[in-house]
């Protein structure tokens, strides 16, 4: 970074909000995934939308690329920046601008922490649905960029289903508003396009979200099974019965063992091959009747025991192990590669067998905790990245797991994004024309490709979108 650029950035945000010493930059070298590392050229921390505009204007002028970053809890290396790139952290823009309890909307700055929003609207009997495991730290801006999910997205949808309007600063510093607070687009659904664009279309500086009413009644059930297959069959049977639980989560034996050996021990049966958490919510009568059906299904699919809780405290106890599973796995080894893939629900039993085979082949510790209801797997590998041989085995195992998921018609990511971690896998599921289309769509927002360069779309695998046009002229 040139001294003149540092000086100009300092003039925009104040010198104390520009970080460029190596020790300062180290904080930003990684996100939540320990397998990628890169130092940004400089970190700049704006406080207002006007400052974001000025920064992007400036960078556009000097043609320096940038990466926007929230809390850095992402799991795909998406918020890492190279030394020739400016990292813009948005955590100072953390104001909740407006809450409308009647129309159930909130207007937020991107740096608002996910869980803080739900806390703020709790007095109105409302909550914000998407609840990624990192919700105590992750920001709404990051959730928008990644189209974040969470356990409670089965019934109510992921981030894209809860964002209605965005104020966006485009990479050339111009400002535009996408969508409307009512959720009906003005023209094509550009909000739908922007959510999940992994920071490559611009920076959202104001986000209008939809809030939901806290359900009148909630029932959480915990069932344990002697095989993963029978637990998976229970998942399919519940959905096939017309019941859409608020959450439908599975943990395998390794995950349960990790939880029960930790301070988060929740009393999960350690001899079970799989534990299923089913949460039903809605009106009391509906929950009651659905719970009876679910209990029946769990029993007929071979559940050994079904525990049920309806008070907040009892439910929290059943959830504790699931919510803290990642923390518990952290005890197993210094590093945890949290992976993310999706398979059709019907392929769950087969894919779990395959992951077990891969685990054995590569001699790794893999714990599975996942959103079974929507087939969203999280095979998590505990390892020590200081051992290069092990790290190489982890990379190879991740690759094989992804290949297996793609082979059954799945996807390489359900909620963590592509970032730079899964760039190589994109051609496995998208052909050259589709990848080319993605790149071209990005260029409609960011013609010079200055926002989060090098992520999501492997440029070398894209068919040049202008080829046909030039052939004609």
């Amino acid at each position: 970074m040139t001294p003149s650029l540092l000086a100009a950035l300092s003039r925009v945000v104040g010198r104390q909000w520009v970080r460029h010493r190596k020790a300062e930059l180290t904080t930003y070298a990684m996100d939540g995934l320990p397998t990628h590392e890169s130092l940004p050229g400089v970190v700049v921390m704006p406080e207002t939308p006007a400052q974001v505009r000025e920064i992007l204007h400036l960078l556009h002028l000097v043609q320096v690329p940038f990466v926007a970053r929230g809390a850095g809890t992402g799991l795909s290396g998406g918020a890492l920046a190279d030394p020739d790139t400016v990292l813009i952290t948005l955590t100072r823009m953390n104001r909740i601008l407006e809450i409308d309890p009647v129309l159930r909307r909130a207007v937020l700055q991107p740096g608002v922490v996910n869980a803080r929003l739900s806390e703020a609207v709790l007095p109105y009997g409302l909550y914000y649905v998407p609840d990624p495991s990192s919700q105590a730290a992750c920001t709404i801006g990051g959730n928008v960029a990644e189209n974040a999910g969470g356990p409670h997205c089965l019934k109510y949808g992921v981030t894209t289903n809860h964002i209605v309007e965005l104020e966006v600063v485009l990479p050339d510093g111009s400002v535009t508003r996408l969508g409307s607070s009512q959720g009906e687009p003005w023209g094509p659904d550009l909000v739908g396009l922007f959510v999940g664009s992994e920071g490559m279309f611009g920076i959202a500086t104001e986000i209008t979200v939809r809030l939901e009413r806290i359900p009148e009644s909630v029932r959480t059930m915990l069932a344990d099974f002697s095989t993963v297959r029978s637990a998976s069959e229970a998942v399919s049977a519940i959905i096939a019965a017309g019941i859409v639980p608020a959450a439908l989560e599975m943990m395998d034996r390794a995950c349960v063992a990790a939880v029960e050996a930790s301070i988060y021990a929740a009393g999960y049966p350690t001899d079970a091959a799989a534990v299923l958490l089913v949460e039903l919510d809605g009106q009391a009568e509906a929950v009651e009747s659905e719970a009876a059906t679910v209990r029946e299904i769990l029993g007929s699919c071979g559940a050994r025991e079904v525990r049920s809780a309806s008070t907040a405290a009892d439910r929290a106890r059943l959830w504790l192990g699931r919510k803290k599973a990642f923390g518990a796995m952290g005890r197993i080894a210094p590093d945890l590669a949290v992976q993310d893939a999706v398979v059709p629900r019907s392929a769950l039993p087969a894919i779990m067998d395959q992951i077990e085979g891969i685990r054995r082949e590569y001699q790794l510790t893999i714990s599975n905790v996942f959103h079974a209801g929507d087939g969203n797997l999280h095979p998590n590998i505990s390892f020590d990245r200081r051992n290069p041989a092990v790290a190489a085995r982890v990379r190879a195992a991740c690759r094989e797991i992804m290949a297996a998921c793609v082979a059954v018609g799945g996807s390489i990511t359900g909620e963590h994004g592509v970032g730079n971690d899964k760039l190589d896998y994109m051609p496995w599921i998208f052909d050259a024309d589709t990848l080319g289309a993605m790149r071209a769509v990005r260029q409609a927002f960011d013609p010079a490709e200055m926002a989060n360069p090098g992520k999501v779309v492997p440029v070398h695998a894209c068919r040049e979108w202008t080829a046909v046009r030039s052939a004609r002229t």
Partner: protein, 403 residues
């Protein structure tokens, strides 16, 4: 030129895939996404304008074009996966046929769009015309997991996928759902299904508009989440007064509990429809949207329904109105001249309400556009996207007006 086009298309698709429409315009009926893309590529290379037609039940086939591309040859339900609750369906498949096929498996696509039951899936997705079920099950975008689209220059883009949760790459599907075919011709879609609800009951209350909108607000504020909560104008409901119809879905116990709550709320007298009249009731309301040449939708917030209905009544007429009392999507059908529609769009925009022209004769579409009154900066992005997906401007779609 028509003869040349006809001959060239026949060389590409064979004699059975190419005919002429009633005005003598060559009509290609490709039977695979690949052959669809070939037709687009040829049109792009030759600079021919394409009009897309589905089953001819929604938009009038009147856009000027050198050739017609019909999706009726793409009418297959490619696959249904009951265990995954996902179906892959070609664009020309009629909704009714899909509905019957899914019902055999105990499954359901929770979409009840306006128009005739045989309307094509491609038309519903391209226009994002959700019906009353939007209240409980979301807009069309929530039901589409992915799609295959032939661009204006004949590339096939495979957006999204067949799994219910997927963030691999940008969400290109969103561009095509409600893109009115301006970014390509939808060949195939992957749809998210649900299990057929065990109980499905419709209740109707009648009264003045004000009574009903006020009651609807109470229902929304109360702890009730019906599948649909739709306000129907007298003309649409074919009755003397306004009607508020609510559709309760779920388990038998849950629906019965909803009925108890509903009837305990306010003064309205709710009449349950007998099972054999329910489908007919909703289908009449859906067909009502075809009873005038122009259909448009306004997206308002729940508390803005009254104001928007007043606006419609003032700028146009009471017309055939179906209004989502909770989600705030208001659909109006009737007859209106261009100037009135323009004035409505301006007045709506001043209230921060987007107005989308869903169907109208070509002169109105061309002048007004499906979309308009963009906010600053949006037009530039949309223009670039159109240039990307239809670089030769072959697709005869009036996304924006010619104003």
């Amino acid at each position: 030129m028509s003869d040349t086009i006809f001959t060239r298309l026949r060389a590409l698709l064979g004699t059975t895939g190419v005919e002429r429409d009633s005005h003598g315009v060559p009509r290609a009926t490709p039977d695979s996404p690949d052959s669809l893309s070939l037709v687009c590529r040829l049109a792009h290379e030759e600079g021919w304008k394409i009009r897309v037609e589905g089953r001819g039940t929604w938009l009038a086939p009147d856009a000027p074009a050198d050739l017609v591309v019909s999706t009726t040859g793409l009418d297959q339900v490619v696959s249904v996966s009951p265990a995954d609750l996902v179906a892959t369906v070609q664009a020309g498949a009629p909704l009714e046929a899909l509905r019957r096929r899914l019902a055999d498996y105990g499954m359901w696509l929770a979409l009840d769009p306006p128009g005739r039951p045989e309307r094509s899936i491609g038309s519903i997705v391209a226009t994002a015309t959700a019906g009353p079920l939007r209240h409980g099950f979301g807009p069309v975008r929530d039901h589409v997991l992915g799609c295959t689209v032939a661009t204006g220059d004949g590339r096939l883009v495979n957006a999204g996928g067949r799994v219910v949760k997927n963030v691999a790459g940008y969400d290109l599907t969103k561009l095509h759902v409600g893109g009115f075919g301006g970014f390509g011709i939808i060949a195939e879609v992957h749809l998210r299904l649900r299990a057929l609800p065990r109980a499905d009951l419709t209740l109707v209350a009648r009264g003045t508009r004000d009574t009903l909108t006020s009651a609807a607000r109470d229902i929304v504020a109360g702890n009730l989440l019906p599948g649909a909560l739709e306000l129907l104008s007298p003309a649409l409901a074919a009755e003397a007064d306004w009607a508020l119809a609510t559709r309760l879905t779920g388990t038998e116990a849950a629906v019965q509990a909803d009925v108890r709550r509903l009837t305990s709320l306010g003064e309205l007298s709710w009449v349950p429809l007998p099972a054999d009249r329910t489908a007919g009731f909703w289908s009449t309301a859906a067909r009502g949207s075809l009873a005038g040449p122009v259909t448009l939708r306004l997206g308002v917030l729940g508390d803005g329904v009254d104001d928007a209905l007043d606006l419609l009544a003032h700028d146009l007429d009471e017309g055939l109105v179906s209004a989502g009392a909770g989600h705030g999507m208001i659909r109006w059908t009737g007859d209106a001249v261009l100037d009135r529609l323009r004035a409505l769009r301006r007045a709506a925009a001043a209230r921060e309400v987007p107005m989308t022209l869903e169907r109208a004769p070509w002169p109105i579409r061309r002048a007004l556009g499906h979309f308009g009154a963009y906010r600053e900066g949006v037009g530039k992005i949309v223009g670039r996207l159109r240039g990307t997906f239809d670089p030769g401007q072959c697709l005869s779609v009036a996304l924006e007006g010619a104003e």
